[in-house]
Amino acid sequence: MSSSHDKPVDPNQVVLWSDDYEGHDVISTRTFGFWMYILSDGMLFATLFAAYGVLSYSHSYYTGPTPAQFVAPWYTFIQTMALFLSVLAYGFSMASLKTGSKAGVINGIIASMVLGIVFVGLDIHDVLRMISIGVTPEVSGGLSAFYALTQVHAAHIFVGLIWMLVMLYQILRKGFTEDVVGRLISLRMFWQFQAVMWVFIYVFVYLWGYMS
Amino acid sequence: MLNKAKQSHLRYLAIIPLLLLLNGCAKHSIWWIFNPKGVGAKASYDYMMIDVAVMLAIVGVTAILIVWFMWKYQKGKNRGTYDGKWEHSRKLEVAFWGIPIVAVAFLSWAVAIHGSFAVNPYNPTIITKHMKPKGDPIQVDVIATDWQWLFIYPQFHNMAVANELVVPAHTPVFFKLTSTAVTTDFFVPQLLGMIDVMPGMRTKDALESNNLGTYQGIAADYCGAGTSWMLFKTKVVSMADFKQWADGVENSPNTMNYAAFNRFAEPYINVKDKTPVYGHVEHGLFNHLLLEVMDGKKWPLPMFMTENMFHCLKLQASEHRA
């Protein structure tokens, strides 16, 4: 800054080395970085949505079925509820973290995991049902995009479940260390973000697909 | 210093190509982009010149300024006054933003917008606006295979010619283009700009030339091993010559039905520059092909087809296609 260059400086007053620099706040840095990851994950989903958007014209389904013929919005609604409740359970778990209740955190995560497993189980069942009626990704570009978007999301949920399992172990083993708490916060962001993505998928792929 | 001296010699070398450039413009040209012979290519050339003139004015002055600063403010030479605090000037900053903004605004209006419509491949106003047809426009259906071109003339008994395009002068020619297998690019540097040719899709382009001659056509986008050989001569001839030529082709006993086309579309490198003609091709071949490709029809490439070109050509010969 030119002004600071021009200003006269009193050598006795000037601060050249900082005493109070304690490095950085581990949790806040970790959380910021995880926000950045969420941003890139959002771009990943955005690209998949773009692909789905381009490949959801009627001719994209070639001669195969369109979503209206095979999606089951009510069935998927149960999935939605499972995921939402899972996020809610994780929220309770995080509330317990604030009070430092180990049991509360663990119970919350277990509930969240069970509901997540329900979600993945329902998803696998749905995929098997669709495959059994001949709705496979090889049929048409539209179905390829349908599977890519929904199953990439399911893969994210699966990774989240493994993460929860690891966190359960770490909580029991180490308690609430800085690392563990930071990871729990990141996992919360991850889980909520996947739920948000699911809302978009549910609306644009299942509901919209059912109606069009 | 030795390296400095070397550099100054290189500057002299730089003049030689410029001489060649001027020389090249005068005679039969190898500078295809600078010697447009088609209406569209000429328009593109004109827009290019406007753009280069405007940009060269800015870039050239900047380059000269930088060189001048380098000379004037070299340390130890005391040619200019040093001011180590000078880092801001409102007037200059306004100019620094203003000059490019004005230039870009001008180019957007004069070149980008006008040009995009003038040479829009689907409806080039430069051709359609001034259409003074001395005959009806000619329609040519272009099919790119791996790696040949097939030009079908629906108005002329559905005749076709492969790897050679013949069009009459002073007449708009409208192309519909598609490809059998992969994406490539239709390009005649002196006549018309590039347009992608894609399988299962139809693109369009248009051409009008008032200069008789033979011009090189190129498959401008990489489309596999035979890309370099996927050439076609474009002959711009007088209408009378064109009619005469068309009569000759129409009477050719060689015809092409869809089965024959299927065979034609198999991967083939046109090393011998063959230009077979077909007096008649099956009606609706172009649309039929489009639908077939959209239904997943493929002309797959044999594995390692061109790992050895001699084997590849031998294979072609054994199939009696060479």
Binding site: D41, G141, S144, Y147, A148, V166, D179 | N3, G84
Partner: protein, 716 residues
């Protein structure tokens, strides 16, 4: 679900077979022998001198951002050379092949030149991919890695372990593309790939698979890096380092990494979908069955254009550091520079369509993207003007670094001029897919290379404590520039002659003379490579004569020049308090340049770890397994990777603490090192142990808590 592949497949080896190794190829087979022999010699030499432990402890397992940066740069330079050899092969092929008639080498199976179309395609595809993603990107990431933490007064990156992970995943990508030379083929569809030619039916070999997984790995590595950079700059700035005092290079790193973070996922998705088409039989980009091949082109360039600015913006940042230092003036128009940087970054997202104007999307869309593209010219113009104004009223020293920076400026002017031509659809139709475009983007990428060479010369003394040989640096510059002129001026001319790109057989004999000139240019480039190697050799040999202090150039401006050269592993003994935008210049002007901290505090440093190396190696195995469809190997490596990650997460890294007394000793030592005329290679921090970090100091090391490791040599 997995589609059948043409050719044999076995559960154990996938598509791999002895016949996939091109041992009969007269180019690759000898090259393979040479590389194997060189590799054996290298391994033998390291073993003989007993350096494995040193390499492992000090380099492979390091999490020190400077060492990781150095390794990134070495990786980038090696790949720059590999890419150059590809370029040499392409030039030679076109020179030999040009014109009519059969002039080919029968032994190679070519009817024109010495390469068949199949091999020529692989060469240029590898050239493009390597130069952009495995040479330019690692070079820039490496320099950012070294300089950004120093410029903001941080001890390291925000996530040192993630930093190492990014390096080793990038290295895995490098190994994958290098092994494609000798096992199987590489893609022949150009570095960006075309739909639908990369579909299995039209590219039945493994080349495209190599291409997919190389790109996926490097994309992963770069994304991790970009998260790290952003967190570092946002969270780790020293006190007083406000946003308005951030050095321009750091600003450009911020903008570049925002671009990388948001754009690389598009690439990952685009390529994953190509992979799905090839492996699972989906129809994303097929011509039939409702696929959309234009979607691929859009998705790819949706990443591709931001990527272009991801590599050019740091280069602009480097120019913005070098020119003020050798003009002895602050950068002109700091705020305008920052705004221009972000304007370029912002516009990068809305221009991707100009890579395929010829697809025929109609005049309205074309015009929009044309004008958006031209908008880039405004902030870029501002930058060039500002650099010129920085030189105005300056005191210019034409050191080697300054020459490279000014050279970059001129290349940028030519690239800008031709870029403005290409941005106009009417003009673009005539020169798109011609070598004119190739020449244009080489101007821009060489602008980056020039900036990188300038930056390497400029910051080399900061990292290693001695300057590179100035005269040889200048000789290299002039040779390189002569090569650039001789190769790319003819290329522009060939573009005006209508030569399209990627011709393994340039059919027009009129082009021959220009190819000959280009070949001469390539020869001059070879000389410049030799000059570079000689410069490195001479500099290391005479390093005692080129020792520098903290402020290596005497006119440096930004914060990194405050700390000692070579930079100690902890960067700053005491974190500096920032008082001005150009802190080093400010301290010099006010007589504080000799000031050192009078007291010290304990600091906390991260431990070294071998985990990143293992995960890097495993990602290579995953990529290789996927390429050859060796499913058991892929799955095993994937599971192992996850397990290692979980294991590492359980271990954590508490780091270690260096006490205040120890810091004082280290600081005194570092100062002595600078003035004793001896060369001291940068020493590492961090304990290294066995498999995973031996984070417990006492367990792995008998040294007392606080002894800086890596200093096993006596501190003399």
């Amino acid at each position: 679900m997995l589609v059948n592949v043409p050719g044999p497949w076995s559960p154990l080896l996938g598509r791999l077979a002895l016949s996939e190794i091109p041992y009969t190829n007269p180019i690759l087979a000898p090259l393979f022998v040479v590389i194997v022999l060189a590799g054996i010699a290298l391994v033998a030499a390291i073993t003989y001198y007993g350096k494995w432990g040193y390499l492992w402890k000090e380099w492979f397992t390091t999490v020190d951002h400077k060492k990781l940066g150095v390794m990134y740069i070495i990786l980038g330079l090696v790949m720059l050379f590999r890419g150059f050899i590809d370029g040499l092969m392409m030039r030679t092929q076109q020179m030999l092949a040009v014109g009519p008639g059969d002039n080919g080498m029968k032994a190679m199976g070519a009817i024109h030149g010495y390469l068949t179309p199949f091999h020529f395609g692989q060469v240029y595809s590898a050239h493009g991919l390597i130069m952009i993603l495995l040479a330019a990107t690692p070079l820039l990431v490496g320099i950012m890695n070294i300089i950004v933490p120093l410029q903001i007064g941080a001890r390291d990156m925000a996530y040192p372990y993630l930093n190492a992970l990014g390096l080793w995943i990038t290295a895995a990508a490098v190994f994958l593309i290098m092994i494609s030379l000798f096992v199987g083929d590489f893609s022949h569809n150009g570095w960006f790939g075309y739909a639908p030619i990369f579909e299995l039916a039209y590219s039945p070999g493994v080349g495209v698979d190599y291409w997919i997984w190389t790109l996926e790995l490097v994309a992963l590595g770069t994304t991790l890096g970009s998260i790290n950079f952003l967190a570092t700059v946002v969270k780790m700035r020293a006190p007083g380092m406000t946003w308005s005092r951030l050095p321009i290079f750091t600003w450009s790193a911020v903008s570049a990494n925002i671009i990388a973070l948001t754009s690389f996922p598009c690439l990952q998705v685009a390529l994953a979908l190509v992979g799905a088409d090839r492996y699972l039989g989906t129809h994303f980009f097929t011509a039939g069955f409702g696929g959309n091949l234009m979607l691929y082109t859009n998705l790819f360039w949706l990443w591709g254009h931001p990527e272009v600015y991801f590599v050019i913006l740091p280069a602009f940042g480097m120019i913005s550091e070098i020119i003020p230092a050798f003009s002895e003036k602050p950068i002109f128009g700091y705020t305008a520079m920052v705004l221009a940087t972000f304007a370029i970054a912002g516009v990068s997202w809305i221009v991707w369509l100009h890579h395929f104007f010829t697809m025929g999307m109609g005049p309205y869309v074309s015009t929009e993207f044309s004008i958006a593209t031209m908008l880039v010219g405004i902030p870029t113009g501002v930058k060039v003007f500002n650099w010129a104004a920085t030189m105005y009223k300056g005191r210019l020293t034409f050191s080697a670094a300054m020459l490279w920076a000014i050279g970059a400026l001129f290349l940028l002017l030519i690239g800008g001029l031709t870029g403005m031509m290409l941005s106009i659809p009417a003009v673009n139709y005539m020169v798109h897919n011609s070598v004119f475009v190739v020449a244009h983007f080489h101007m821009m990428l060489l602008c980056i290379v020039y900036a990188v060479f300038g930056a390497v010369i400029f910051w080399f003394p900061k990292v290693f404590g001695f300057k590179l040989h100035e005269a040889w640096g200048k000789i290299m510059f002039w040779l390189f520039s002569a090569g650039t002129f001789l190769v790319f001026f003819p290329m522009f001319m060939l573009g005006f002659m209508g030569e399209t790109r990627r011709l393994d057989w340039p059919f027009d004999p009129h082009w021959a003379v220009w190819f000959d000139v280009q070949e001469i240019g390539i020869a001059v480039y070879v000389l410049s490579v030799l000059a570079f190697l000689w410069m490195i050799y001479v500099s290391i040999r005479d390093r005692a004569h080129h020792r520098v202090g903290a402020d290596a150039w005497g006119t440096s401006r930004s914060l990194e020049w405050l700390t000692d050269s070579p930079v100690p592993f902890y960067n700053y003994a005491m974190v500096p308090h920032i008082n001005a935008r150009d802190e080093a210049a400010w301290r010099r002007e006010h007589g504080f340049s000799e000031s050192r901290p009078d007291h010290f505090a304990a600091i906390h440093m991260p431990n070294n770890t071998g985990v990143a190396v293992y995960i890097g190696a495993l990602t290579f195995v995953i990529g290789f397994g996927l390429t050859w469809r060796i499913w058991w190997l892929t799955v095993a490596a994937l599971i192992l990777t996850v397990l290692i990650m979980i294991y590492r997460s359980g271990k954590g890294d508490p780091g270690y603490v260096i006490s205040a007394e120890e810091m004082e000793k280290l600081d005194r030592q570092s100062r002595q090192n600078m003035s004793d005329g001896q060369q001291h290679l940068p020493k590492g921090g961090g304990y290294t142990g066995g498999t995973v970090t031996a984070y417990s100091a006492a367990a792995s090391d008998q040294r007392p808590q606080g002894t800086p490791p890596g200093n096993s040599r006596p501190l003399s």
